[in-house]
Symmetry: C5
Subunit: 288 residues, 5 copies
């Protein structure tokens, strides 16, 4: 995630970073400009077509419903992005609350304090990697019991860490350090971790229904590629920037929605998971 | 559900899978093209009508309110689809949490562990089949007690499985394996299963009010079938692709909404319940 | 509520059931057609007005804001309808859960089992009748204690049934059948019944603020009745179907919103409360 | 709040009650009609300007974004209104549940029953008055302990009543009538009263950010007052009703949003708090 | 936050406070007026271009999707603003409820009453300052134990205050003033403070994805700066106010969204945190 000052107009207007929508669409925009130029030349200079009235009436009709669909697309993508952000805010709060409860129940200096602190950190680290494709064992911190052997050859590393956490809590319960009610309460806290992971996986694995994706892309394509046919009669070579910028407006919204609908990656618009994991680990170190 | 890469533009623009909206609408689109062609020929070549100004003004007025209605339709359909997805995410979490609690309370090797694991799997299997029309007894796994005889001749198989689960929990409570509070807590977990099923049935059995369905279809019909009357005067034979594509834009949105508003089927856009049930059963096997 | 297959296009396009919006608006549509015909005849054939350019520009401006208001209206009406559906889903779940808890706590064959089963059924029956105007005592099932005399001469029958349920639970608590915590838990379950009833009454008794209702109807009226003034100059007698269908589009949306915003009646679009009450009573019979 | 039948079209179309939006805007509408008439006379009859093409293109561009802002305004205002309604529904339920719990815990005939019943009634009465400007001591019912002296010279009367309720509950706890858990549970119920009051105050004291209010009013003003400049060239004296009605459409939506965004007053669109308080007091009398 | 009467139309229409959107945009508006004037002079008086038909058709197409994006922007910004308001309403309620519970559990005159009251006040004070950039130690009230030394050299002052609160509660628990259940309940109340802080930080640190910010500003820029090219042909020097006001409408909505999306500052539209903190401190003084 890029941290930025939203009030800086000039910078943004003339900002052409490589991760910017404008830059991403540049090759396609050049292609469409060339395509429109050919139409403009052929219709005006070779075939000498005469202008028609209201050359864009039909595009106006369809542009309306396309705009509304793009806003629907943007809203659903943003909702996923914001839900992802809330889930990671919940990870932050839950890990701290879980640690605070344990720090009350466990005597100072008990060896499990460090183990559990490391395991929570591992859980979040593994979750982040898992959401970005594949959890990597060598990103984890090992303890005597939960070392490389414990993790390797397992597919779903976050669940493996969760199992270790459950085992530790169960062991402490067996040692009589907390009674059944407290044990079940801590179990519930752990459940909230796996529930959050489940919600992240839901966002990651359930994109918007494929029909909408196909439909929006098809309509944008038809819309932009039929526009020069009539537009060049009215606007001559001015239609080159016009069609290009209309394409930028519509395709840009779709591109941005694609970026944020899966918010756990490393794109400029994705959530800053790296920072969050580091912050949480720092918090845990203070508490446990 | 089809898993796909949402960023693949070219593939989607030229994608004509049989379950794609474009392919589904193809016969209707051909019909409308022919219908428009007849108008174009008759009005221009036989009757020699003269063009009118602003041939599509009225369609523009009505197209606006129709577009807004279609977005309303899309939003409500998507909300059902996403709610369905959340409910099945909740099934995943609840079944795992329920199993985890039991695995703590039941001694290792207790025979009820396997019975309950099988029953939870059956519950989800039966729910999936039930939501797709009819739960099938031969999709279930039988145990000594809950065998084919137990299920057959019952209409609502998921409720029958739930009853078996309640009975097992009650029996274990009678055996003194957990106290009243723990028994009631487990009962509450079971309630969440039946609540989820109730929510799925609500989505499945309560489509959008029939008036909206009729109204939207009527307006699309009137809109598209009156369009050639004036459009052919201005756009001549070009109105054939124009009217056809306007029909594609409006009817496509309605078709997609129809597909996702009942998300438990086996359409390309429906939720991947098959995979989810298999995954949950795998999780249970690890826990209990 | 009418159960229907949403994918049947042809049926809906040519469907003119008496409860259909089209049929309901038919008399008004005929009136507007006649009104427009008079304008068309007078302005074109008697006064011989000349056409003006852009006859519908102002209607386009106002039509936009009117369309947005109608969508606002539709969204709020649909939210009530769907909230009503959720409340009745909650009635279904709560009555079953309440019965399940009691069936665990009460010994098999205890006389209160039947009494409470009948009272829950009565509660839902009375609630349904109450929401449809007036609860009728003769729709209830009587027991020895809670017979016709108990209910008659009371205005708010559902509350009267709730009082009977509270009395029964209190009596069982006095008999020592469950301890204070269990008693309070059951009390909470009963509260959820009365909370649901309160939510239904809120939906029923709080329509959209009257200003919006007046405003939307006034704007539709002005919009449609001023349209022929200029439209007949451009579209001649074609303006008769045009104005009529524009009226159908706008008034139809308002009519549908009126129907679903109060979802507890017996209209074609209202919720199927009759079936739900029957289903719940069937479920209770199995449990208690 | 006015209770009305939403399906009565003719009544609403010709309804000009003094609290109606149309009546409220009448003086402004007359002023705008006069203003437009002056333009029409000067430009057409004195200066003899010639018509321009597309006189309202710019108004169409701006009208679009203004309409969307007005719908945003309407949605947020309606959300407050509906949230206010839900809070008062919650007051109804909570006061009844609180009374029901106490009626179980307190022996029949205990003097605190009446005191607490009066205090709850006072709380809601004082809250209503407080939300309408200033809680009035003489609207309250006094008891021996909590008489006029207790309330006078205090600014925030609802909090003063809440303190009396807390004191009573604490006293009963000291008398040993309920144990610590029950005492804390009752405390939680009381918290929900003050939480609801806090939510009402939030709605009342936090209007939509002032910038939006200024912006919308400025845009409506500019929009309507610049409209005659070009409109009179095309529509001559017909522009008088046209501009007036466009003003009615836009300003009416803003006026209605202003009315409902603060839903606790005594306007025709505000919530019927008077009735609700009377109903709740009646319910309490039956229970305690 | 500015407190205002939303019904005062004339005041707002002619209100040009320095924090008003109109005043903020004034310099940019003057620049755009000059820019348009140059186009008008050059195209009409030097180059003598002839008018084209429909000069703003393309702007109408793009203006539509831009308007929808701006409403999306406004909705998300407003949601943050309102969520921020709810969180601070929750701070108010939680601090009062926490104080009320403690005042019941701690004997009158216990020294911890004052300490905890001061710490809660410090927490909210530090949170406010923290959200506005940097918590300042000299804004806090010191006690014997938690004096300047305790706070200085720590970055995250609110967490430092929270630690003090946890320590105090833990100490009182060790002294036997409340049992484990009550201790855990108080811990949960404290968690709600840190959860609220986390939610505030989420709103503050996670602006809308940067792509949207860049995209909207770019489109507004392109939209406004290309408008004079064709508009001056039709509207001559009238296009100066026209383009300027169109810029005001679009940029104004973006500017307002920027202001409210981060609602914890000291802008005219931001939440009145200063008053809230003072009010809460006053409430605490009455209770503890």
């Amino acid at each position: 995630m890029i941290d930025y000052n939203p009030k800086n107009w000039w910078k943004f207007i003339f900002y052409f970073h490589k991760s910017d929508t404008f830059s991403k669409l540049m090759p396609a925009m050049l292609g469409i400009a060339a395509y429109t130029a050919i139409f403009a030349y052929v219709e005006n200079n070779i075939l000498h077509y005469v202008p028609i009235r209201n050359p864009l009436t039909v595009h106006s009709l369809v542009g309306f419903v396309l705009s509304l669909l793009l806003v629907f697309r943007t809203n659903t993508a943003y909702d996923r992005w914001w839900e992802g952000r809330k889930i990671w805010g919940s990870f932050t709060n839950n890990s701290r609350n879980f640690a605070l409860k344990l720090s009350t129940l466990l005597p100072e200096g008990h060896t499990s304090r460090e183990t559990i602190r490391i395991l929570i950190g591992n859980y979040l680290q593994a979750t982040k990697d898992h959401l970005r494709g594949k959890a990597k064992v060598d990103h984890l911190t090992f303890t005597a019991t939960y070392n490389e052997d414990y993790y390797k050859d397992h597919k779903h590393i976050p669940n493996r860490v969760a199992k270790a956490l459950y085992t530790e809590i169960y062991k402490l319960h067996q040692e009589g350090l907390f009674n059944l009610e407290q044990f079940l309460a801590l179990n519930n806290e752990l459940s909230s971790f796996t529930d959050n992971l489940g919600a992240c996986e839901r966002i990651k694995n359930t994109p918007i229904p494929v029909s909408y994706n196909i439909f929006i892309k098809k309509i944008i394509f038809i819309y932009v590629f039929t526009m020069p046919i009539t537009a060049v009669l009215e606007y001559k070579f001015w239609s080159i920037p016009i069609v290009t910028l209309v394409f930028y407006a519509f395709a840009g919204i779709e591109i941005m929605a694609e970026e944020i609908e899966e918010p756990f990656g490393t794109d400029a618009n994705d959530l800053g998971l790296d920072n969050m994991v580091v912050n949480i680990k720092g918090n845990l170190l203070e508490i446990l």
